[in-house]
């Protein structure tokens, strides 16, 4: 991971299951691995995948707020919008959800997490030993939410994190998810395999963001490519240009040989070609030139 950081990559995204739906072969669950990596790296952004089926929103909001504090503002959450039937069967949902139900549930889940993240105002903690006031009670806001799938009183029992909100990445999008993604996501991972399809998806998301009153450039679009099939910087640059994306997420298999090829050969080559560069700023939002989240 330090090699990836030294090559000035913006972030690593730690998957928690294989896209096929097969169980992960990593010895580490993604958020626990993220915490460990946070303490042995300094600059690189750290994004963990975590499923809305495997967690409760209150628990997951706490986990990521903590990780953001631990990493000094370098954390993101990759939330998949599609359910994995295998996971449902291991989480007391043998029948799973219908696609529509799962979509509504995922949106409700994500919005609860984002609201919990900003439940404490920036200056809520007073630390005043003499007067005995640890925090200002008026700057701590319960959410008192009752929805279709969850009800959560809040507030979070973790302080406001350095990024205010850890980054929200959305992936595995279907057409029906585009409206939500265009309003909420900081980063979208586009799984479209061909550049014209990726470009269409990218344009559509930016268009919808504009319609929703959001700066379309405030969402970073990343196209997903396989590190094994991308021999050099030129092909990646072409992919980026043709897809209209802001960057590329390279998938690397969790095997030492694959990782070595990626970090020893491909990354230094991309850096030599000026395709990756160091960004100023300490937090992941700074690195990606994203605003602090103003929502809600």
């Amino acid at each position: 991971m330090r090699k990836v950081e030294a090559a000035d990559a913006d972030m690593v995204i730690i998957s928690d299951s294989l896209p096929s739906g097969e169980p992960s072969i990593s010895p580490f669950e993604a958020t626990t691995l993220l915490a460990a990596l946070a303490t042995v790296t300094d600059r690189i952004g750290l994004v963990a995948s975590a499923s809305t089926l495997a967690h409760q929103p209150y628990n997951l909001a706490r986990r990521f707020a903590s990780l953001d504090i631990i990493s000094h503002g370098r954390t993101g959450w990759n939330a998949t919008m599609r359910q994995n039937p295998r996971e449902a069967a291991n989480f007391s949902r043998p029948e799973g959800f219908s696609d529509d139900d799962f979509r509504r549930r995922a949106k409700e889940f994500i919005d609860i997490v984002r609201t919990l993240w900003v439940g404490w105002e920036h200056d809520a903690l007073l630390f005043d030993k003499a007067s005995g006031r640890f925090h200002d009670p008026d700057k701590m806001h319960p959410m008192d939410f009752t929805g279709e799938f969850f009800s959560v009183r809040g507030p979070l029992n973790v302080a406001r994190s350095p990024q205010d909100s850890p980054l929200l990445l959305l992936s595995d999008l279907e057409q029906a998810d585009f409206d939500f993604a265009s309003r909420r996501a900081d980063v979208v991972l586009l799984n479209e395999p061909k550049p014209p399809e990726a470009k269409a998806a990218c344009d559509k998301l930016r268009h919808r963001a504009r319609e929703a009153g959001r700066d379309p450039l405030s969402i970073k679009m990343l196209t997903v490519a396989d590190a094994r099939q991308e021999p050099d910087g030129a092909s990646l640059e072409a992919l980026c240009l043709a897809s209209g994306c802001d960057g590329v997420v390279l998938t690397v298999q969790p095997h030492p040989a694959a990782f070595e090829d990626f970090s020893e050969r491909l990354l230094p080559q991309l850096k030599r070609h000026g395709l990756i560069e160091a960004h100023p700023g300490k937090t992941l939002r700074d690195r990606l030139e994203l605003d602090k989240d103003g929502w809600p």
Binding site: T31, T32, L34, S66, I70, H135, P137
Partner: protein
Amino acid sequence: MTPRQMKLGLFLWATGHHIAAWRHSDAHVRAGIDIDHHVKLARTAEAAKFDMVFCEDAAGLREANVQIASQTSRSIGFEPISLLSVLAVQTERIGLVSTASTSYNEPYGLARAFASLDNLSGGRAGWNLVTSASPIEAANFGATGLRPHADRYARAREFATVITGLWNRRAAGHDGESFSVRDPLDVPPSPQGAPVMVQAGASDDGKDLAARTADVVFSAAQTFEEAKAFYDDLKGRLAAYGRQPDDVKIMPGVAPIVAATRAEAQAKYDALQELIPDEVGVALLSSYLSISDLWRYPIDGPLPELPEGEGMKSRQALVIEQARRDGLSIRQLARYFAGARGHWRLVGTASQIADELQARFEGGAADGFNVMPSWFPGELDAFATLVVPELQRRGLFRTDYEGRTLREHLGLKRPIRN
């Protein structure tokens, strides 16, 4: 053969265990947002050869009244699995135990998280199983009310069965009352076989579940007689589950304040007690008693008669017993329990504290202790530099780790894998 030695856990709690710890001039007031502080505490405990660090947890605020809550440091802290993941790579030998509730988790998810933590730490992870008794937590998980005590334990029993099955690689395919799980765990087994199982419930249901599944039991007792009765009761229940007395380590909480002289230790304690606002003390006492209107009664009068609630039954009984025995007023009780939350308070020199610990250990009332420093880092440093060497001189505590894993520190068998 090495004589029997006591086990020591360090009970982490950001600013310290005393309710007013954060106001102490020596306490690190930003502890709840400072990860380096926690790393330092764990390393101090590791240098002193503690068996483990232990994190308490609640999935919600600890105090519903915002005015009260804002006068304590307990509304914020690190989510413990993230915290222990950090400690796993920042320490080498010490065990890492965290609380997680069976009420608001799923066994497959927790099994993955703790197995992952066990792999990250080279076999040093432990899970403290709790059922959640707080209506504040319940309101964060869609519950309209707290579930009855018996239901919480039925769910916890099923949870423990499923999670140990997953860790021990027994065939999956569980389809029960509260949970269904199809696949085996997708995280490889750790050097320890399975994370250590810890429990703290002291009700009848709690003790029975502990006798069935726990490797370590944390308890709270004021007097030697209480501690001994609990110890004998729990160890006596093991045979019914085919277990030996030594398969479970019983570690009562102890909140020491130590100094070079008895008078100096007492002065430290008194100064800390003075920092407790009455309304905070009474609110905390109310929560142990599971009633909401204790403030209506005269603060210098006696505790009123109370009905038994659905909350923490054992703690409620302990408070009432203490009040009747010592004839304490509400204010006195509030101060007393605010200091160590019902745990055993020791104030004295290293030698006096070692005497007390030795008496309970050798008297068959404890296998070790869960140490609850009153404020951090000062009182941990004092315990590590004054009391631990005294225990070592007496041959009561190790001078170096016997092994690598938490099971090895505790002298526990590896779980049997079917």
